[in-house]
């Protein structure tokens, strides 16, 4: 949450509600938009860390609003984040732990575990495919496609687990 907010503020100062609706606008339904409370908490922490500063803007007909802007330190933190390669999506995997440890626990057969997991992934894949055809904007669509490709990799990897362990 911190970095997306800094990135939005890099363009121009904004208040909490503007940031929330900007996030919704950009990511559409593909991004779980944080509630306004989370946004304000994050903004406060960013301010405490010196990455943003704020001031109250007096409004006559409505309560004052607090407008946030990026500080120099905030801009540096943003650039550092943008320039750095990102972590891969998955290192540890809950399913793999189950697969590895199920035999210690006694009972469940590995092929059964793999088949159940495959069915689950296929169902997810189907949900994503249905979302993808519902003509969304480019940013959400790319996110959905990314999730599908990850899922495809998970399914391929399931096959490898099966080849090696079953």
């Amino acid at each position: 949450m911190r970095m997306p907010l800094l990135a939005l503020l890099a363009k121009e100062p904004a208040h909490g509600y503007e940031l929330k609706s900007l996030l919704e606008q950009i990511f559409g339904e593909a991004y779980p938009t944080p509630n306004i409370g989370q946004i304000y908490v994050t903004l406060q922490r960013l301010e405490r860390d010196g990455l943003v500063r704020s001031q109250d803007v007096v409004q006559t007909t409505r309560p004052n609003k607090r407008v946030y802007e990026l500080t120099e330190a905030g801009r540096e933190a943003l650039v550092t984040w943008l320039d750095k390669a990102s972590q891969g999506p998955r290192v540890r995997d809950d399913f793999f732990m189950k697969l590895t440890l199920s035999q210690l626990a006694g009972g469940t057969d590995r092929l059964g575990l793999i088949n159940r997991q495959r069915r689950h992934y296929l169902a997810q894949m189907r949900s994503l495919s249905e979302l993808a055809v519902n003509g969304t904007a480019p940013i959400p669509r790319l996110l959905i496609e990314g999730a599908m490709l990850h899922l495809q990799a998970d399914l391929d990897w399931l096959q490898r687990c099966q080849e090696e362990l079953v």
Binding site: R2, R126, Q152, Q159
Partner: protein
């Protein structure tokens, strides 16, 4: 009990295929059981070498089983001669392959029309069916083109039109998106789903699980054996996107 169940369009029982190799015989399919109901869309998936193409080829009469039975429309067909299989493919089965296999010196329209004629349609019926199918698959503007002038995705759509020209009770598809880019794959998949909604039974082999997930049911093959056979369904209705996609940051 065996194979004659009225609600089954296709049934395979204990199907095996062993190829005589140079050294050891290769057991490509080792006792596969499966069934397809009328109007059902079933995908067979598995890693390369799992026997899925061999299985499909046996079910379409392109490969003779070493053992087991095949029932199509309540009729046992595994022992049919090549010639009788050819008739069955012209009248009951549509086939789509990975590499399209269109007749290169015929126009798009003629490729489709010929299949209808060979399936027993009159000239008038064949022409009407060709027009309907090309329009349905978005190919009307390409009717007079040679297949080679078309993109891979378009060629596969022609192959699909051809496969459906004889109104088959069963459409068999062997890696139909295997040679296509992502956008063309999606369009072929959409058309398959559309045909399925129109009542077409489809049995499709794919290693692409994105394609497989579009089916009603997925059969997983491994080492020539069926290891899973289950409907594809979200356990609790459609999944909200937010549960599927989690961004970090």
């Amino acid at each position: 009990m065996i194979g004659t169940g009225e609600s089954l369009l296709l049934r395979a029982i204990g199907l095996t295929k062993t190829f005589a190799g140079d050294g050891m015989p290769v057991r490509a399919v080792r006792g596969a059981d499966l069934a397809v109901r009328p109007g059902e869309f079933v995908a067979i998936t598995g890693p390369s070498g799992s026997g899925k193409s061999t299985l499909l080829h046996m079910l379409g009469g392109l490969e003779r089983p070493t053992g087991g039975q095949i029932w199509l429309d309540g009729r046992r067909v595994d022992g049919l001669s090549q010639a009788r299989w050819a008739v069955l493919r012209r009248t009951h089965i549509g086939f789509v392959f990975q590499f399209f296999n269109l007749v290169s010196n015929m126009t798009v329209a003629d490729n489709v029309e010929l299949a209808a004629l060979m399936g027993g349609a009159t000239r008038k019926e064949a022409a009407a069916r060709r027009n309907d199918l090309l329009a349905e698959l978005g190919l009307a503007a390409k009717a007079d083109a040679a297949p080679a002038r078309l993109s891979g995705g378009e060629q596969q759509r022609v192959a699909l039109a051809r496969a459906m020209a004889n109104r088959p009770s069963l459409l068999l598809a062997d890696e139909p998106t295997g040679n296509l880019d992502s956008a063309a794959s999606q369009s072929v998949l959409r058309l398959l789903a559309q045909a399925h909604r129109g009542g077409q039974a489809i049995l499709l082999v794919t290693h692409d699980l994105r394609v497989a997930s579009a089916a009603d049911r997925v059969i997983s093959l491994f080492d020539g054996m069926v290891i899973d056979d289950a409907p594809v369904a979200a356990p609790h209705g459609p999944m909200p996107v937010r549960e599927v996609i989690r961004l970090r940051g």
